[in-house]
Amino acid sequence: MSHKLDPEKISKSFATLDIHDYGDVLQCMRCGLCINACPTYRTDGVETETPRGRVAMIKAVIDGKIPADEEFIEHIYDCLNCQNCQTVCPAGVKAGELVLEARHRIEENRPQPALKKFMLNYAILSQPRLAKFMIPLKLYQKLGLQALIRKYDILKLISEDLKLMEALLPPLPPRPLSEELPEEIPAKGPEKGRVGFFLGCAMNLIFADVSRASIDNISRAGYRVIIPKEVQCCGTPNIAEGERTVYREMARNTIGLFGDKRVDAIVTDCAACGSELKAYREIFSKDSSISEKAKDFSSRVRDISEFLDRAIDNSLPFGPISRKVSFHDPCHLRHSQKLTAPQRNLLKRIPGLDYRELPDEGQCCGSAGIYNITHRERSMKILGAKIDSIDKTGAETIVSSNPGCLMQLMYGTRQWGKSWDVIHISQLVNRSLNSADQKK
């Protein structure tokens, strides 16, 4: 493979897309109603950084009006894939998804950096493998180097990127959650049904406490929780980087894995995983060997709030938490899964909780996978705007439900010197259930 970019080859490959087609590109009538919703337009203020612009550029590449050169690729990768544009577009244009399709064609047709290939094609395939690559980080945390470095800014001298990466990571659990959990956890009380729990990589390796709380909540709601150990990554990092072969392989495995477990629902507490698992139905829509199974699988997937809001009935009371609380909607929840009500309903069911709406109609926090590392400056501007919105609410606790958002918000909270705490909705719900228990 040559190491030079071949714009012509990429352009030609745009003649067909993967699951969308040219009609979906033409669908954009260029009304511009999406531009202010787009975080990159908010930071950059130019048309090349709008959903409308991105669809126009993709169309122009297909039509041969602009080359698929470095600059085009850059704009395509500047997108956070937050899908806010898809929420606001009245014409039903899937600008965010079209961007991902463009990335797929680009990646198929350009030389791949070795590290990226290694991560997306190899490391990601198994969680123990991923865990191994996090061990060095863990060691260094254990030795207390993290605090020292944070304090003295030593890393700044080494590399800005590394410093950010280390600042983003919260203290890691001693071992992955999957190593501690049994395959099945019985329902507390009479069993209402069986739930498959999809333990996402980041939850397993970084936010073990959160998923522990999620699983406890589900079982207290009366469901047996089945936690398949061989679960692979949902594929979000792959699809975001345009990789779809390994992605489909992992997705097939996951569909099969849960297919065998006779579960009523497949629940995840990672919004990104949830949105990806729900998307399997589309990604396999053209593949008759699995399309039906994928449809069935996706239709059972539930975000943790979506599940708990229905599953927790009056027999399981919420205990009081007197705090001012805001919910930061992960884009993968609000825009990809189109869920806004369940998380709010759940929070409002907690007695004493003073719910404050964030005044930004679901703007991204700038985390977006590894966007905060690959596009650091813009990501930090986006985060700054988020911190400003939170400030307006007077909230004492910021609740969210996606590991990337949690890390980014925790980082922002430290960086901007704010005093609110940042937690996952499962943790808050768990606290509330506990406090009701204690009252009994």
Binding site: L26, M29, C31, V46, A56, P90
Partner: protein, 462 residues
């Protein structure tokens, strides 16, 4: 434009304010107008008046055309640089300079978004009525240049009715302030009023003072459903002839309702032939009186059901749904071609019949919605630009509809302007003498046709 010129421009303005790559230029080759695209040679992102001034001076020295652009939501190609040259972006000039709650005015830079004005003034119990469907993205500069209307135009008028003063740059780089913050001002010609609606062909607004009014005390919102769109049209003139002016009187036909419901999912009835969204506002007693008249007009004209919005939130949802109409219509087909005809209100049923007839005669799909209370209808054709034969039929159908509108004493453009897309229809509309006068005016301000060339006047007419 060659690299040398670009670098000179960058030198004068600063590198970050000049965009010139092929991809960037492509992204400023279109606005919301279907099937029109011309690339500029450079784009300047102005941050202040000095940037405008420098750009104009530079363009003068190089003999380049200049086209001003706000958010690019125009529907007649106004911000598309048909002769290339420089596109001057105003969106970074987006500060609210002064909100005078005592004398009821707001002073803004041209790139301020329309809803930002709404939000700022409503916080102080004031009201800026113009609310084009694009208000969440359109700029005030663009609104003034297009004299944009909106859902509240019927009672409250359109953008031009609220413009008190304009700081305007002309193509030679000079700047003049017309108008004052005073609500009365007859010093000299009323150039302020003239500049409104000039579609970026006479000057570039750099500072705009808008008049505000007190926020109405109450309002009542109706949704009237019809089994026949013609009955809905008759209701419109019935309400007006009873000397009631609702603040909003909007129509959506069945095709539009279904597309909007597909997007918004707020429970609009899918089986009706048309609906009217009606709102009356003001003093509670007056609102009640008007509401009674509106109700009887609806019932007498066979409204199937008439219901009132139960909450402000429900009313807001209905308005938002209506604002989405155009873009929502784009859901069902790849290409959407919309028109902007306006007729005297008693003629609405007749123009509506003509639209329906043409849709069936030319075998095309048309969804119609519009500011019915203003007589302003947007028949919107849902088509596919790849189907040349159908596109041809669409144009033929529209020609008949235009002729009909004009013969009814109407106009081909109620609010989207002439721009590039409608220029060829203008002579038939206004006649040769009017074109001559307009050309003389244009030549006074811009003798070389460098400011937004190719607009308003059809090419061969120039």
């Amino acid at each position: 434009m060659n690299n040398l010129i670009i670098s000179k421009l960058q030198e004068s303005l600063g590198k970050s304010k000049v965009l010139s790559s092929g991809t960037e230029l492509y992204c400023y080759s279109y606005d919301a107008t279907p099937l029109v695209s011309f690339k500029p040679d450079a784009v300047v992102k102005a941050h202040n008046e000095e940037d405008i001034q420098k750009t104009l001076e530079f363009a003068a020295s190089e003999g380049l055309p200049v086209t001003t652009r706000g958010s690019g939501t125009g529907l007649s190609g106004g911000s598309i640089p048909v002769d290339g040259g420089i596109v001057l972006l105003t969106t970074a000039m987006n500060r609210i300079l002064e909100l005078d709650a005592d004398d009821l005015s707001i002073t803004v830079e041209p790139g301020v978004i329309t809803t930002a004005v709404h939000n700022a003034v409503e916080a102080l119990d004031l009201f800026y009525p113009p609310d084009p469907g694009s208000m969440k993205v359109s700029t005030i500069g663009g609104n003034v240049a297009e004299n944009a209307g909106g859902l509240r135009g019927l009672k409250y008028g359109i953008t031009g009715d609220y413009v008190l003063s304009l700081d305007t740059y002309f193509i030679d780089g000079s700047k003049v302030r017309y108008g004052t913050k005073c609500v009365k001002d007859v010093a000299g010609y009323n150039v302020t009023k003239f500049l409104v609606g000039t579609e970026g062909t006479i000057g570039i607004f750099s500072k705009i003072v808008l008049k505000l009014v007190p926020k109405p005390k109450t309002k009542k919102t109706f949704l009237a459903l019809y089994d026949d769109v013609i009955d809905a049209c008759r209701t419109v003139s019935a309400i007006i002839s009873r000397k009631v002016i609702p603040s909003t009187l909007e129509l959506m036909d069945n095709v539009t309702i279904n597309c909007v419901e597909d997007y918004a999912g707020i429970g609009l009835p899918r089986d009706v032939d048309a609906l009217l969204l009606i709102e009356t506002d003001g003093h509670p007693a007056v609102v009640e009186e008007d509401a009674a008249v509106i109700e009887s007009a609806c019932r007498e004209n066979h409204a199937r059901t008439l219901r009132t919005a139960k909450s402000l939130q429900e009313a807001e949802e209905l308005f938002t749904a209506r604002r989405m109409a155009l873009s929502a219509l784009a859901r069902s087909k790849p290409t959407t071609i919309l028109e902007d005809i306006t007729v005297p209100r008693p003629a609405i049923p007749e123009i509506m019949s003509c639209i329906k007839e043409m849709a069936s005669k030319y075998n095309i799909r048309i969804g119609t919605f519009g500011h019915a209370g203003d007589g302003n209808m947007h028949p919107t054709c849902l088509t596919d630009e790849r189907d040349q034969d159908e596109i041809h039929r669409v144009h033929e159908a529209y020609q008949v509809i235009f002729d009909k509108a004009i013969s009814l004493g109407g106009t081909i453009s109620g609010e989207h302007g002439t721009g590039y897309a409608k220029s060829k229809y203008l002579p038939a509309m206004v006649g040769p003498k009017a074109i001559e006068v307009m050309k003389k005016i244009k030549a006074t301000f811009d003798p070389d046709h460098r400011l937004n060339p190719g607009k308003i006047f059809p090419r061969e007419e120039r």
